[in-house]
Symmetry: C2
Subunit: 213 residues, 2 copies
């Protein structure tokens, strides 16, 4: 197909398609004439993937590039993919660490160790979780890392099922892509479902226990 | 305290503190001299809350303003808070809806109805979840809304516990704030824990079943 059809099929504007090609996120088409190229289903698929990462995952173009590089790296051992994907998805730079943040990180490390989870020491999600703990304390909640126990149990339950479905994928590239999509898309889905469940259970409780208004 | 100490305590730069006051997110201090005002613990607390919403929740200033308005509205019945908070946290504007999006929304509505969840028809999280379904399909996954069943079960489990802890809060303002913090901070925590659990369970599986490399 021509670039105009590729743009129509994927909903990505032509200048943006060209920008992704210049940035190396999308392979160029096969030249059919000096100013014309032919694009295939692989191009459309890659553009859909970039759109999902950008729109559902709110990733920057730089983060998308890092994730795509992990997908395209055929030498990456499969069991390292989760870590690499995480690091590609997370911000890396950071300034000096305040004392309360360092303390929270140590508590999160101990919490994860007590759960028996084997996670690399530099996993960015450790920092995100410590950041959530610091945020709760700054807002006056007097809590330790165990406040996250219900969420850890739920996360373990989901992750175990998700990992086994990724493992069932025989094609390596398909498995990596499934992993990236799973991280980004199902993270958004889980957040949406939790908000919906909040509304449902608050209504149930309001009806059963504390009729107001 | 003076504005300089308020800034130091909360880690929010003085020009930003002044900006929040101009935008009505933060009450002005008590004037003690023509060019001087005194700030208290309530100001510091509000600034911590704004920071968490901005940094942990990635909310825009406009969204923060909407959430704070919900917190400050003493007339809002408690059981409507979840819905109001959700709407304040979600983008509202939208263009024309493509056919595949309309179809996905109808499927999500049926899925939630089958779960027995009572959620308002215009809850923005319905749209987010439908967006996740559309994204999966665009990427070639041939799946229906039931692909989200494990996530719905986990979300229900967490939300039920979270709602009961919010309900236990007797002070209305404290309950609303707890709700907002819970939505934003624990959403980030849950996402982080799921990523950590992915790494753990992929390692466990790699060790037990499919040694590679």
């Amino acid at each position: 197909m021509r670039i105009s059809e590729l743009s129509r099929t994927t909903g990505v504007a032509i200048p943006t398609v060209k920008y992704y090609m210049r940035e190396g996120l999308l392979a160029r088409g096969d030249a059919t004439a000096p100013n014309q190229a032919e694009y295939g289903a692989a191009h459309a698929h890659r553009l859909h993937l970039i759109r999902v990462l950008r729109e559902v995952g709110s990733l920057t173009v730089g983060q998308v590039a890092a994730v795509l590089a992990a997908i395209d790296d055929a030498h990456l051992p499969r069991h390292e993919l989760f870590g690499v994907t995480q690091r590609a998805l997370a911000p890396t730079s950071e300034g000096p660490v305040p004392a309360e943040v360092a303390l929270a990180r140590a508590e999160i490390d101990a919490f994860l160790a007590a759960l028996g989870w084997e996670v690399s020491a530099e996993a960015p999600a450790r920092r995100s979780l410590a950041g959530a703990l610091v945020a709760l304390r700054k807002l006056g909640r007097d809590c330790g890392a165990e406040v996250f126990l219900p969420h850890a149990q739920a996360a373990a339950h989901i992750a175990e099922q998700e990992v086994s479905s990724v493992g069932a994928e025989s094609d390596r590239a398909a498995a990596v892509e499934r992993l990236v999509i799973g991280t980004v898309v199902f993270e958004a889905a889980l957040a949406a479902l939790r908000r919906l469940a909040h509304e449902h259970y608050s209504g149930v409780r309001a009806a059963l226990y504390t009729p107001e208004q």
